[in-house]
Symmetry: C2
Subunit: 154 residues, 2 copies
């Protein structure tokens, strides 16, 4: 198992590459590349965590004190629309509960947010890597399949 803790030079290279990729994609899609956006890209690319908007905002504000929270929101959703970043979990509209405590998995529709359960022999006992216990005590593991559901395809 490999965690996302790489050495500094490799990190820096990754950051450069991501920023370059995003910059190119933004230009290609015909939207403007403002210096606020560039700074947000830099901050995001360097962040291997899974930051929320507030976190990115605070970090960017250090170098661009006038940046506003809504610009950060708009920029992140822009990258998301271009397929350059994803969000964690199903679409955020409200908290969703799961009544089923048995081992099962989820098919999440990235368009409408619906979640369907499925179970599978093959996925019953996932081979979790050894090193995982270094991160903490494992309670449970599920597969999250992301895709477009049948009714959204039409």
């Amino acid at each position: 198992m490999i965690l996302n803790t790489q050495d500094a030079p490799a990190q820096e290279e990754h950051v450069q590459r991501r920023v370059a990729q995003w910059t190119a994609a933004v230009k290609a899609s015909g939207v403007k590349l403002t210096h606020q956006r560039l700074e947000i890209f830099r901050e995001l690319a360097a962040n291997l965590d899974h930051p929320d908007v507030e976190t990115v905002f605070r970090a960017v504000r250090v170098r661009v004190p006038t940046v506003s929270l809504d610009t950060v929101y708009r920029t992140l959703w822009l990258l998301h629309e271009l397929g350059l970043i994803t969000t964690l979990g199903p679409r955020r509209d409200g908290i969703r509960f799961d009544v089923n405590l048995e081992r099962h998995h989820h098919f999440v529709c990235v368009r409408c947010g619906k979640v369907r359960d499925f179970v599978s022999e093959a996925l019953c006992d996932l081979p979790l890597p050894e090193g995982l216990s270094g991160l903490g005590d494992v309670l449970d593991a599920r597969v999250e399949v992301r895709g477009v559901c049948a009714s959204c395809k039409t």
Copy 2:
């Protein structure tokens, strides 16, 4: 692969069992069993989807017109605290973005909500069941390991 579409009698039995289990657990933990709670239990147990609070609220209100939204919230969190239901995805405080588009997996701390990435040879190519394509077009699959992270253990 088996979906959660069972025949009606089996369903009804499941619902009964869940309500009975929750009722017992609630009594055992010393909290009161009000008729609002009981109706919410019934509604939830019958719902194999992954309802949000509003959905449960609207359904319960048909039979208990005076029920309030915050009671539904409080009841669902009660069940959650007792470990009888779970929530989807990481804790919902804000939207979280994921910059890494390569195939990777998540360790989610159920206590603090932090998410760490990990990759694994063994989990690289998950054996997704055939029947899954019936649910929709699969884009991507990740393992979501839930647990308590190292710093929350202390």
